[in-house]
Amino acid sequence: MQQQQQPSNITRRHDPSHPHHHHQLTEEQQQFQLFQESLPKINRLVYQMLLNEIIPTSISVQNRLDESDDNSDAEQLKKLSISEKPVVPSHKLVSQMHEIKNEGRYNNILERIRTIGFKLGCKIADLLVFANNPNLNFRDMDLLAIMKFVCRDVWKLVFGKQIDNLKTNHRGTFYLIDYSYQPIKNFALNDDTNKLSAEELEKKELKSVEPFLELPVGIIKGVLEALGYNAKETICLATYIDLPNEDASHYGFSKGISFHVQVTNTTRQQQP
């Protein structure tokens, strides 16, 4: 794809439509804040664990589906001992991804995670649109404004922090960069019998975390779909990028994530 200008870096810090410091809120804004504060709450950790558990569950579901495909007579026998089988721990399910040789199976699992993310993204967009936040005017938003919405409001809601950096070429290509993607920020692989070399360990670690990135990929596509950008005309891919502060890679997950979003049809299809 031709890029006629360098992707420009957009930081959202001084955007007047999004006050960070609460000195002079309009009455509407105050009311909105009070309303948000009065809504029932739960512990963020519970939510984060539920999000993370989507990945091993998607693998477990695939295992179950493959079992019953392989052997539908044995399926009846298996049904009897459903509750006796020990539960496979989450980290074991995740490490199974590394062993899968069958590309179809592997992709089915990623697809499942992405689909959940997509449905979630659609619902999150609806949630935020109908929240009637006086700071957000969806009707007037163009693609860039919507991407900023994803970076600020969607990310803050789901992950507790905003995207660190947004780059665009102003022609439908965007890079959303998160240097500490919350659900995985403390992940590191355990080489519990000390058999792997440093390179093997890093490689395995990055591969193990890949499935976790399909969820936010799906969420981004889902939000875009809900706001008028057809999923068939949108590409979203997640890749690892080096951290600006190399030291940080020793104390937390070693890479940042870059979400590359490409929207081919930059005209928004407004919902009636």
């Binding site: 739960i42 963020r44 589906l65 539960v87 949630l127 809601l157």
Partner: protein, 196 residues
């Protein structure tokens, strides 16, 4: 059960739960939790072709895997030791655990004769907010089965082997949402194997 020492203990646990919830926990709107969980359940319905037994089982396993890990965060935050009796366990679950994680305080009810089983009556279940089940699901799906898995896993990590299951759910048209916890046995602490 209603001795003054018992009452004092219950009060301390209540205060502990409220303090941790109020001051030491990052909070999010529960509607996000509701819609995320709903998305997961509907995906399972699709994958398992509405075989609700499999779906209940998968939700339970999800919960179990969350429970065995989240217990550590719970203990680190509350510094609670192992309970001395099942009665205390019920109070810790109701007044501290549910409070710290979901800002709920389910009612403890229906103690068995031998004091080895009790129920939690959950009102305002965030998972089932605005959820309506289709008719086939109403007969066999335990929508919030993840809770059973979480409790099973967490209790197992503190050496309590329990059976946890739903008795009733308002989503199924029942009067209340009741979850039953039955203690099978206290697991013995391991001792080192003696090498010859």
């Amino acid at each position: 059960m209603s001795s003054s020492a018992g009452q004092q203990q219950i009060k301390t646990l209540k205060v502990l739960g409220e303090d941790v919830w109020k001051n030491k926990v990052e909070k999010i709107n529960s509607e996000l939790f509701t819609l995320t969980y709903g998305t997961i359940v509907s995906q399972l319905c699709q994958d398992y072709d509405r075989d609700f037994e499999k779906i209940n089982d998968e939700l339970y396993k999800m919960g179990y895997n969350i429970g065995v890990r989240i217990i550590e965060d719970f203990l680190a935050r509350t510094a609670l030791p192992r309970c001395t009796d099942f009665n205390t366990t019920s109070e810790v679950i109701s007044k501290v655990a549910f409070k710290v994680f979901l800002n709920l305080t389910p009612t403890i009810a229906n103690w068995s004769q031998s004091n080895d089983a009790f129920s939690l009556i959950i009102s305002d279940n965030p998972l089932s907010d605005f959820v309506e089940l289709p008719i086939d699901a109403m007969k066999s799906l335990w929508y919030s089965n993840v809770y059973c898995g979480v409790l099973k896993g967490a209790l197992e990590m503190v050496q309590l082997d329990c059976d946890v299951s739903f008795v009733s759910d308002i989503l199924r048209g029942d009067n209340q949402t009741e979850l039953r916890i039955k203690l099978n046995k206290v697991l013995k602490d391991e001792i080192p194997v003696i090498e010859d």
